[in-house]
């Protein structure tokens, strides 16, 4: 079964990548299976759970719904691309401080949806935060702590990036 392939160029977490990918593979497949970036998770594979959320040219999208070839030429940021020099991003730090993390499977997608929100709206209201994260399912039920984390990051509270 020789699948048709196409050349795709992406900038992933700041690094240029030239790939030959099967036309039916999703961006999520390529990130996880070909680039080894397993931080983005697969759950529903139909755009309902948000576990695979990444930034494509700054917008939060479900990587399971985008074919890799559709993302050709774009800049992709995954959870692995946050933070610099081993420091957590403001949001990652806030998630830890607010106790937003339980099993952690939804967290990369949550963080990326929140990054997308903060990128377009640095001062989001609690209602806007809930709206922005409503496409990310957390079965551990950490929604209130997660929303509190995003609100804290919005207000710039409590960010003490630690050296790792």
């Amino acid at each position: 079964m020789a699948a048709e392939t196409m050349a795709v160029t992406l900038v992933v977490n700041g690094r240029a990548r030239a790939l030959e990918v099967a036309v039916h593979r999703t961006l999520l497949d390529v990130l996880r299976d070909e680039l080894g970036l397993t931080g983005s998770k697969e759950c529903c594979a139909e755009g309902e759970c948000g576990a695979c959320t990444v930034l494509v040219d700054g917008d939060g999208i479900n990587a399971c719904l985008v074919l890799a070839v559709e993302a050709d030429g774009s800049s992709v940021t995954t959870i692995e691309g946050l933070g610099v020099d081993g420091r957590l991003s403001r949001l990652q730090d806030a998630f830890l401080a607010a106790g937003g993390v339980q099993c952690g499977f939804c967290i990369p997608g949550m963080v990326m949806s929140a990054e997308a929100l903060l990128a377009r709206q640095a001062r989001a209201t609690p209602a806007e935060i809930r709206e922005a994260l409503s496409g990310n399912l957390c079965r551990c039920g950490g929604y209130n702590q997660i929303c509190a984390a995003v609100a804290a990051a919005c207000s710039g509270e409590g960010h003490e990036a630690e050296e790792r």
């Binding site: 594979a45 759970c49 995954t78 692995e80 830890l96 106790g99 099993c103 935060i129 957390c138």
Partner: protein, 781 residues
């Protein structure tokens, strides 16, 4: 350490006080390593916010082959010829296996009943049961081949409801030949039944009798991490990876299946991405292990979310209750009939039904009780444990009855509960010498009532409800731990518990840190490898803080005994003059820290001090459940809602849970667990139900688009998770377990609030807008 407290003797065993538990000791908050009772940050949190936490599906094995399963689009079908020739021709396909290609008779497995075949044989029994497995170089090739496996089959009538399972004209789910010859239920769809009770219900007098029937739909776990499995030949044995809660149960199963000694079976259990009971027991690991040994290569199978729906669900319940009350509102008797609908194979569902039913009278004083329970089989996916283990469904019934009685007898809903709640030390199950009420439960109820403002005026269309719930915790158990104090004073805890989000790693690190005076940043917790960590029977029933926590505590206390002996030898002081407290070794003339003693005692060759500990709860053959509850999870929920009378929609305004936790070792973790449980409970209360097609038995709402769970926008506007801490639990520092408490009484509290707001009584879960709207229409004619 206070005199007479739980300091370890030289043999490392802690002293016991009356009641059989170590006394809760006063905690030195400012001591080195002391974090018990504080909200220490999650161990493993960094990995989880950076995406570096490796779940099963994130693991990569060289030379791995991929497995996909073939299933039919109906529940029950007679399997005819299976043509795999076309599938086998797909490039990259290595093997296509049906039951016929497995050793005969096809191996069956299950934690209670060995009833589930590796692949369907003769007949499929539920929508999603695999008929064949394809092994291929890529997932794409395997998926393509799955479409080309042609299964000749004849669809057969299926048993999908409790009514059908009870009907003696219905087809049998289980072949009588698979049952014992003397099984009285051999020719029925009853798997088994139980009778619990005390006193004499037929002779009991009551001033007033309330009789009703309640149902609760089957729901699915919807862990965001779908189940994933890997299996690989490993030297003279096998290695299996699974997102499983009970790796040691899986190890035994794989050993049995492959006829290998346990020591040749290595199970890796990376932290599950949510478990909620659905990941307790094996699903496709035995099949993968058999195929991996046959093909001699590592195999990988990660289920789709749809396949997880077809793998795990909760039992459906129908509960009929006849409750006798006296004029003063006290309960006179409970007469309860429970039917629980399991799937085609028992999994652990039979235990869900028996264990929850055992406490079907709730946390109340009930003079006479009669409980008859049946576990029924059906052509649906195997029902299994789901957070609460059937207890929320019991509370749904007995608490709805309390509301019914309050209405009919003219009592306040809070008052009638408080009047009947068992006091500490009173039996709730009578005559069996069972664990009595182990908390000041009325205190939890008062806290919830105060928070919700019970009795305060409400706007029109708003209503309040309150309800209690109880769950028997672990009845048996066996947890073993090893703690290694390294020569630089840091420590490694080896514990076989699974951390699926409840925070076991954090709490175990806190206990070790507290006992050894080591900051938790210097404690590592190794879990998820049966060849590295000692045996832990299960991670279930909110047990780990009590069971594994005690094992770790005991291991640390053994280390402290050894440190005292080392200090005595090294510094020439009498052993009983060496005191270890507050993370420091107190010698008669000075204080030193652990690392200094290790350096002085072990010298340049280095070394370490190893402690072991355990906590068992042994089998009690005469007990109906095989053992006494180690503790009860008791909780109270109060809720305020608004009901839209035009649409039947419920708006959640305020919601509180109060859990009796003994001692919150990490208050933030406890709050997260309780609040998370409450949100899951709200989903089950208002929106979640698996819907089976009446003809084919196919799950109609198969997947995230059609089966809705709560999102950020579905949670109450205001929520609180409160705890009662009387340090009266059997675990370290007086802890009980929690993690299920928050959802035990969600449904009856919300339904009570709905009645308060709109005046309609709903007796079937979930409380969908349609049900409420219809009830409003009927009431208003």
């Amino acid at each position: 350490m206070s005199a007479g407290g739980a300091e370890a003797g030289p043999d490392g065993r802690s002293e016991k006080i009356a009641g059989g538990r170590p006394r809760a000791e006063k905690l030195a908050r400012d001591a080195r390593g002391a974090t018990i009772g504080t909200s220490a940050q999650r161990v493993g949190g960094f990995e989880r916010v950076t995406g570096s936490q490796r779940f099963v599906a994130d693991l990569r094995l060289d030379e791995v082959l991929h497995v996909k399963l073939v299933h039919l689009e109906c529940a029950r079908a007679r399997i005819g010829h299976v043509d795999t020739t076309e599938a086998a021709r797909v490039p990259g396909v290595r093997m296509v296996v049906t039951a016929a290609e497995l050793p005969q008779p096809v191996a069956r497995f299950g934690p209670g009943y060995r009833d589930r075949p590796l692949l369907a044989t003769g007949e499929t029994k539920y929508h999603g049961e695999p008929v064949a497995a394809v092994v291929a170089d890529t997932v794409d090739a395997a998926s393509e081949a799955v479409r080309l496996v042609h299964v000749e089959h004849e669809q057969l009538p299926a048993v999908l409801t409790i009514a059908a399972a009870r009907d003696e004209r219905s087809p049998l789910v289980r072949e009588p030949g698979l049952r014992a010859a003397d099984d009285p239920h051999r020719d029925t769809n009853t798997l088994t039944e139980w009778r619990f009770g005390w006193g004499d219900v037929p002779a009991a007098h009551a001033d007033h009798v309330v009789e009703q029937r309640y149902t609760a739909a089957s729901t699915t776990h919807f862990a965001i991490e779908p189940h994933g499995f890997l299996a690989a030949p490993d030297g003279a044995g096998i290695a299996v990876w699974s997102s499983i809660q009970h790796p040691y149960v899986l190890q035994r199963l794989i050993a049995d299946t492959l006829e290998l000694p346990l020591a040749r079976v290595r199970v890796f259990a990376p932290d599950p991405g949510g478990g909620f009971g659905g990941k307790q027991h094996a699903k496709y690991e035995p099949l993968l292990a058999v195929l991996a040994m046959r093909i001699g290569r590592p195999l990988r199978l990660v289920l789709t979310l749809e396949e997880t729906f077809q793998a795990v669900r909760s039992p459906t319940f129908e509960i009929g209750i006849r409750s006798g009350f006296m004029r003063d509102g006290t309960i006179a008797f409970q007469d309860i009939e429970i039917d629980g609908l399991l799937g085609a194979y028992a999994d652990i569902g039979h235990r869900v039904i028996s264990k929850s039913s055992y406490l079907a009278c709730g946390p109340y004083r009930v003079p006479d009780a009669r409980i008859h329970v049946r576990a029924l089989l059906s052509h649906t996916p195997p029902a299994t444990a789901l957070r609460g283990f059937g207890s929320p469904q019991m509370a749904w019934a007995f608490e709805s009855q309390m509301d019914e009685a309050a209405r009919q007898l003219g009592f306040d809903r809070l008052e009638i509960r408080v009047r009947n709640l068992a006091h500490r030390g009173e039996e709730i199950v009578r005559g069996a010498g069972d664990t009595p009420a182990d908390g000041d439960w009325a205190e939890s109820v008062r806290r919830a009532a105060d928070w919700i403002g019970w009795g305060d005026p409400l706007p029109d269309g708003h209503g309040r409800g309150i309800a209690v719930g109880i769950k028997s915790s672990a009845t048996t158990g066996a947890s073993y731990a090893i703690v290694r104090l390294l020569h630089d004073g840091s420590a490694i805890v080896l514990a076989g518990t699974s951390d699926m989000g409840q925070g076991a790693r954090t709490v175990l690190a806190q206990i070790a840190g507290q006992e050894l005076g080591v900051p938790i940043e210097r404690v590592s917790v190794v879990m998820g490898d049966t060849s590295a960590a000692p045996y832990d029977m299960q991670t279930s029933a909110s047990r780990s803080t009590v069971f594994m926590g005690t094992a770790v505590l005991n291991a640390c206390r053994e280390i402290r005994g050894k440190l005292r002996a080392m200090a005595s030898d090294t510094y020439g002081v009498e052993e009983d003059r060496v005191v270890i407290a507050d993370g420091t070794i107190h010698l008669p003339d000075r204080e030193i820290d652990v690392a200094e003693l290790m350096a002085d005692a072990l010298g340049p060759m280095h070394g370490e001090v190893i402690g072991t500990g355990s906590r068992r709860g042994d089998h009690v053959p005469e007990h109906p459940l095989g053992g006494h509850a180690a503790f009860y999870e008791f909780s109270c929920t109060a809720s305020e809602v608004a009901v839209d009378r035009e649409t039947g929609e419920v708006e959640l305004l305020r919601h509180v849970t109060v859990s009796d936790v003994g001692k919150a070792l990490n208050p933030a973790h406890v709050a997260m667990q309780d609040e998370g449980a409450a949100i899951m409970g709200l989903g089950q209360t208002l929106m979640e139900q698996l819907i089976f097609d009446e003809t084919t038995g196919r799950i109609q709402n198969l997947g995230a688009l059609d089966y809705r769970i709560p999102t950020t926008k579905d949670v109450p506007l205001e929520m609180a998770s409160l705890v009662v801490e009387n340090e009266d639990g059997p675990g370290p520092y007086g802890a009980k377990g929690t993690g299920e408490s928050g959802l035990l009484s969600t449904a009856p509290a919300v339904a009570s609030a709905v009645h308060d707001a709109a005046g309609v009584v709903i007796r079937d879960l979930p409380l969908t807008p349609e049900r409420i709207w219809r009830a409003l229409q009927e009431r208003d004619g």
